[in-house]
C-alpha cells in the first residue's frame, strides 16, 4: 500500500514543530516516509521525550543508600532489607480519562501495573490521585463515575489492592481532569529486570495481547491542549483488558524465573515503537522488526498503525535463544501470544520491514537519546498578595463547611468500589492517611501515601512543592513507617507559557529541597504537560507518591483513639489561613500565601513520632482543614467524640506545617510529653477524646450529626 505524501499539514498533525521537522531532515539527509514520520512523532512528543522538563528533572535528588534503581527505567527500585525490594511509580492518564473516562482510567491502571511487573515485581498495592472540576460542572459527574469505575474495573479484576489516594474538586480542572495512578510491587533485589538489550542477533519477542488499531497516536494526543474538537479524539484512547493483564503478569513472572529474559519492556505510550527503541537505545544496539510476524487483531494493518498502536497488555522482550521453547510453553499455558518479531543488530539502526518492504530505516539513537530538549523561558511566580481579613465564623460552622464539601467528605463512595483487601495483607485500609500492606510472609509492612495541595502550588510553587513532599512524609510517619523514597507525577499546563513553566520550575525546586532534606529521593515519575483547555490551565499539581517501611507491625501506630485518651498537638502554628481549606470551602476564597515548610522541623517531628510509637495510640498529620478536621477524623474513626481547647479560626483551621495530632493513653501522657521536651519537639495537650460530641472550645455539636454530614456529602455533591 502506498503511504501518504508528507505535507506541512501532515507534519503539524503529528505535533511536530517546523524546526523539529528540519532536524529530522538533517538527521536523515532525505525526506522521511510516512511510517518514519509517525515514529518520530511518537518518540519526540512531550509525553515520551520529556523535552520541556528534562533540564529540571535532572536537578531532583535521586540517590540514597536505599535506592537500587532511580529514574529512567520502568519504575524505581528501593531496598527494603532481607534481599527484598519495593518497585514503584506513579503515572498520569489525564488526557485519555477526560475523553473516555472508564477506559482512560482503566488503561492508566493497567499501564502502571505493567511498569511494575515488567521489572520482575508482583504488584501488591495501588493508589490513585484524582482531580476533577467543580462538582456542579456538567461533565464532572460522568467523569467521576467513569474514572472510579474504570480504576475499579481494572484493578479489581487484576487483583491488586487499592489502598490509598486522593480525590479533589476545583473549577480549574473543569476542562482537564487528572488521573494519576500509582502501583508498587515486591521483588527480590537481585532479580530485577531492566530494559537494556544486550547481545547481537538476539531474538526480539512480542508477548501478550494482539495489536489492534486502538490508541494510534495516543502519546501525541496526550501532548496537546484540548479544544472543542475533543470528541474527535476518542479513537486515540485504548481499551483495557485486565484479564489479559493478569495472565500477562503471571506468565512474565513465571518466565523470569527461567532465566530466559535478557531484557524486557512493556508497550505503553507509542507501543511497539517506544519499547523497541528504548531497549535498543539503553543497550546501544539496533533493532530490526518484521511486522509480518506481529500478532494482529485486525486485518490489513499498515506499518504505520502497527508501530503507533497503543493496544494494551503487550510486552517486548529480548530472549536467550536457547530458552525459546521453555518461554513459548509458558505463554501457551496462559493462552497468550508469543511471537519472535525481530532481532537485535549491531548497527545504530531501527529497521522496520513489512510485506517484503523496508517501511522505516532510522538511526535508533537519534529517536531517543538525541530527541529535542528545550530550555523553555520561565517566569518566577509573583509573591502572593497578603491575606485579606477573614470573617468571623463559629468553629463548628467552619467544620461543617469542610465536612459538607466533597473535598473533605468521607470518600467511601470511591474506595468501596475498589478492592482494597485482595491478597489479604492490607493491615491499614484506605480512608485516612497512609495505607499499610504487609510484605507477605514476613513481619515487615509497607506504607503508601499520595499527596499534593494544588492551591498552595499555585500561590507559591516552591513552598507548595515542598509541602507535597512534607505531607507525604508526615502521612508515613503518622503510621510509624520510615519514609524510604518517592515518585512524582508532575501535572501542569502549557510549558510554552513562561508563567506555567515558572510554576513547574518552582515546584521542582521545592520538591527537590524537601526530598533532599527528608531523605526521600525521587526514584521514578512522570510529567504531564499541556493540561489546558481553550487556553486555561489546571492548578499546578505535582502529586507525590511515597513509600515507607515498617520493620515489624509492632512499630505501626495503629489506632484508633480510645475514650479518655489525651489529644496532643505536635508542632507549633501561627494560625496560617492563607490558601486554606476553610477559606475556600466556607468563603469561596483562594487568597494569601501558602504555608511555609520548615523541613528541619518536619524531620525532627517525624523522627519523634517513630521513636515514640509505643507511647502513641493513634496519630494523624495536620494538613488542609487544620486541627479541627484532623480531630474530627480521628474521633470519627474511633467512634467517639473530642473536646478541643478554645482558640480563634487560625487555631482550629490554620494549616501550618510540621504538625500532628496524637491520641495518647492517660498513663503514657507524661512520658510522651517529657520525651518531646527532651527531643526539642513542641508538644501540648489540646483536648481529650471521649463523649458523643465535638466541642471546639465553646462551640459544640453532636458527633452523629457531623458524621452523617461527612458520610453523605460526597454522594450528595455529585447527585
Amino acid at each position: 500500500m502506498n503511504e501518504p505524501q508528507i505535507t506541512e499539514e501532515l507534519i503539524s498533525a503529528h505535533g511536530l514543530k517546523p524546526e523539529e521537522y528540519a532536524e529530522i531532515l538533517r538527521l536523515l539527509n532525505r525526506d522521511p516516509s510516512f511510517t518514519e514520520l509517525g515514529i518520530f512523532s511518537a518518540m519526540w512528543n512531550e509525553h515520551c521525550s520529556y523535552k520541556s522538563s528534562k533540564k529540571w528533572l535532572r536537578t531532583l535528588p535521586t540517590e540514597g543508600s536505599q535506592v537500587i534503581c532511580g529514574p529512567g527505567e520502568n519504575a524505581g527500585v528501593v531496598d527494603i532489607g532481607d534481599g527484598q525490594a519495593v518497585v514503584f511509580k506513579m503515572e498520569s492518564h489525564n488526557h485519555p480519562s477526560y475523553i473516555e473516562p472508564y477506559q482512560g482510567a482503566a488503561t492508566g491502571v493497567g499501564g502502571i501495573l505493567r511498569d511494575v511487573f515488567t521489572m520482575g515485581a508482583r504488584p501488591v498495592a495501588a493508589m490513585n490521585s484524582l482531580s476533577f472540576g467543580a462538582p456542579d460542572h456538567s461533565r464532572t459527574r460522568r467523569l467521576v463515575a467513569g474514572v472510579v469505575e474504570g480504576i475499579g474495573g481494572y484493578g479489581n479484576c487484576f487483583g491488586v489492592p487499592t489502598v490509598g489516594g486522593e480525590v479533589r474538586f476545583h473549577p480549574a480542572y473543569n476542562g482537564n481532569c487528572l488521573v494519576n495512578a500509582f502501583a508498587a510491587g515486591l521483588a527480590e533485589s537481585d532479580k530485577i529486570f531492566y530494559s537494556a538489550a544486550s547481545g547481537v542477533g538476539m531474538p526480539v519477542v512480542y508477548l501478550g495481547a494482539k495489536t489492534g488499531r486502538d490508541g494510534v497516536g495516543g502519546a501525541t494526543m496526550a501532548s496537546a491542549e484540548f479544544d472543542d474538537t475533543i470528541e474527535e479524539k476518542r479513537p486515540t484512547v485504548q481499551v483495557g483488558d485486565p484479564f489479559t493483564e493478569k495472565r500477562l503478569l503471571e506468565a512474565c513472572l513465571e518466565l523470569m524465573q527461567t532465566g530466559a529474559v535478557i531484557s524486557i519492556q512493556d508497550m505503553g505510550a507509542a507501543g511497539l515503537t517506544c519499547s523497541a527503541v528504548e531497549m535498543g537505545d539503553k543497550g546501544s544496539l539496533g533493532v530490526r522488526l518484521d511486522l509480518d510476524r506481529v500478532p494482529c487483531r485486525e486485518e490489513n494493518m499498515t506499518a504505520y498503525e502497527m508501530m503507533l498502536s497503543e493496544s494494551q497488555e503487550r510486552m517486548l522482550m529480548v530472549l536467550r535463544p536457547e530458552k525459546e521453547d521453555v518461554a513459548r510453553a509458558i505463554f501457551d499455558k496462559w493462552d497468550l501470544d508469543f511471537a519472535v518479531v525481530g532481532e537485535t543488530i549491531a548497527e545504530d539502526r531501527f529497521v522496520i520491514e513489512h510485506g517484503g518492504r523496508v517501511m522505516a530505516d532510522l538511526p535508533l539513537k537519534a529517536l531517543s537519546g538525541t530527541a529535542p530538549e528545550y530550555d523553555r523561558p520561565w517566569e518566577p511566580t509573583a509573591p502572593a498578595a497578603p491575606l485579606a481579613d477573614v470573617p468571623a465564623i463559629a468553629p463548628v460552622e467552619g467544620l461543617r463547611a469542610l465536612l459538607a464539601s466533597p473535598n473533605h467528605a468521607a470518600k467511601n463512595w470511591v474506595y468501596e468500589q475498589y478492592d482494597h483487601m485482595v491478597m489479604a495483607d492490607t493491615v491499614r485500609r484506605p480512608g485516612a492517611g497512609a495505607g499499610v500492606v504487609r510484605v507477605h510472609s514476613t513481619g515487615k509492612a509497607l506504607a503508601f501515601t499520595s499527596d499534593v495541595t494544588p492551591r498552595y502550588c499555585r500561590a507559591n510553587p516552591v513552598e507548595g512543592g515542598k509541602q507535597a513532599v512534607a505531607e507525604a512524609y508526615r502521612n508515613l510517619c503518622a503510621v510509624g513507617a520510615r519514609p524510604l523514597a518517592s515518585t512524582d507525577n508532575l501535572n501542569f499546563g502549557n510549558p510554552e507559557k513562561p508563567e506555567i513553566m515558572g510554576q513547574f520550575v518552582g515546584c521542582i525546586q521545592g520538591i527537590g529541597a524537601a526530598c533532599a532534606a527528608l531523605d526521600m529521593p525521587i526514584v521514578s515519575g512522570n510529567v504531564s504537560l499541556y493540561n489546558e483547555t481553550d487556553g486555561s490551565g489546571i492548578l499546578p499539581t505535582p502529586t507525590i507518591g511515597a513509600v515507607g517501611l515498617l520493620a515489624s507491625l509492632e512499630e505501626m501506630i495503629a489506632g484508633p483513639a480510645q475514650d479518655g485518651d489525651a489529644a496532643v498537638l505536635i508542632g507549633t502554628g501561627k494560625g496560617h489561613l492563607g490558601q486554606s481549606a476553610l477559606l475556600f470551602e466556607a468563603f469561596g476564597r483562594e487568597d494569601g500565601d501558602a504555608p511555609h515548610v520548615d523541613l528541619e522541623a518536619e524531620r525532627r517531628h517525624g523522627e519523634f513520632l517513630r521513636a515514640n510509637h509505643a507511647l502513641i495510640r493513634a496519630a494523624t498529620d495536620l494538613s488542609d482543614g487544620g486541627l479541627a478536621l484532623a480531630g474530627f477524623e480521628m474521633a470519627e474513626a474511633a467512634g467517639t467524640g473530642l473536646a478541643l481547647k478554645d482558640g480563634d479560626a487560625g487555631w482550629f483551621f490554620g494549616e501550618d506545617q510540621a504538625r500532628y495530632l496524637l491520641a495518647v493513653a492517660p498513663d503514657a501522657l507524661d512520658d510522651l510529653l517529657s520525651a518531646a521536651d527532651a527531643a526539642g519537639v513542641p508538644a501540648q495537650q489540646v483536648g481529650r477524646f471521649g463523649d458523643a460530641g465535638i466541642a471546639l472550645g465553646g462551640s459544640a455539636t453532636p458527633m452523629d450529626e457531623l458524621k452523617s454530614l461527612w458520610r453523605g456529602a460526597f454522594a450528595a455533591a455529585l447527585a
Binding site: E149, G152, G153, N156, C157, F158, G159, D241, P242, F243, T244, K246, R247, E250, K333, W334, D335, N412, Y415, E416, Q417, Y418, D419, H420, M421, V422, M423, A424, D425, T426, V427, R429, R438, L553
Partner: protein, 223 residues
C-alpha cells in the same frame, strides 16, 4: 486437613484461600490448575477462590464451570466431597449446578468492597459448626455480582431444609432473602459471597472468618 485450591487464569484470591486453609489445617493447600482433568487423591476439601476466573466478560463463572477441572470438582462433590466456593467461587458453583440460584449484578450496579455484618443461620454443616446459631459476624464482601437470585419456591425450600448458611444484616447487594451463603442438599458444598479468608487474622482487622476454617480443620484433625 488435605485441601486443594482451584486456580483459573483470572483467580486472584487463590493464595489468600490457600493461606487460610494452611493456617487452620496445618498443611499447605495443593494448587490445581484449571486445565487439569482430575483432582489429587485423598482430598478432604476443595476450595474455589475469588477473582475473575475468565475475566467475567460472559456471565461470572460461566466459562470456569465448563473447564476440565470443574468436571472433576462436580464428581468429587457428588461423591460427598467438601467444596467451598467464595465470591467468584460461589458464582462458579451456581453455574455448575452444584448450588441452586444465580448471582446477578449488585442492585446499585456498583462494585462494593467493605465489611458487612452477617448472621450465622445454621451450624449444621462442616463449614458453620464453629459458630453459634444466630451469631453475628463481620466479614468483608468484594464483588460486582453478588445479588443472589432465587424464586419463592427455591427460597421456601432453602428455608425448609435449613440450607441458608449466612444472611446479611443490612443487605448490601439486593440478594433475595438477604442470602449471603447457601449449602447444597447434602450440606457438603457451601457457596458464599463474603470472604472469610480476608478476616481470619487479627492483623487484618478481625478474626470472624477464622471459625469457618478452624471448624473444617477440626473435623479432619488426626484423632
Amino acid at each position: 486437613m488435605k485441601s486443594a485450591v482451584i486456580v483459573f487464569p483470572g483467580s486472584n484470591c487463590d493464595r489468600d484461600l490457600a493461606v487460610a486453609f494452611e493456617q487452620a489445617g496445618g498443611r499447605p493447600a495443593q494448587m490445581v490448575w484449571h486445565k487439569e482433568t482430575s483432582l489429587p487423591a485423598g482430598l478432604d476439601i476443595v476450595g474455589i477462590p475469588g477473582g475473575f476466573s475468565f475475566g467475567d466478560y460472559l456471565r461470572c463463572g460461566a466459562i470456569a464451570a465448563r473447564s476440565p477441572i470443574c468436571r472433576a470438582v462436580v464428581d468429587f462433590a457428588k461423591r460427598g466431597g467438601l467444596v467451598l466456593g467464595i465470591c467468584n467461587g460461589f458464582q462458579v458453583l451456581t453455574e455448575t449446578g452444584l448450588l441452586p440460584g444465580a448471582l446477578l449484578r449488585n442492585a446499585n450496579l456498583k462494585y462494593i468492597c467493605k465489611d458487612v455484618d452477617l448472621t450465622v443461620e445454621t451450624t449444621d454443616s462442616p463449614f458453620t459448626r464453629g459458630y453459634r446459631k444466630g451469631q453475628g459476624i463481620r466479614i468483608p464482601i468484594a464483588h460486582h455480582d453478588g445479588n443472589y437470585a432465587a424464586d419463592a419456591a427455591l427460597l421456601g425450600r432453602l428455608d425448609a431444609e435449613d440450607r441458608v448458611a449466612f444472611r446479611y444484616v443490612d443487605n448490601p447487594n439486593g440478594s433475595a432473602g438477604d442470602i449471603a451463603g447457601v449449602l447444597s442438599e447434602n450440606r457438603r458444598v457451601l457457596g458464599m459471597m463474603p470472604h472469610p479468608e480476608r478476616l481470619a487474622d487479627a492483623a487484618l482487622g478481625g478474626t470472624d472468618g477464622a471459625a469457618l476454617f478452624a471448624g473444617l480443620a477440626e473435623a479432619f484433625a488426626p484423632a
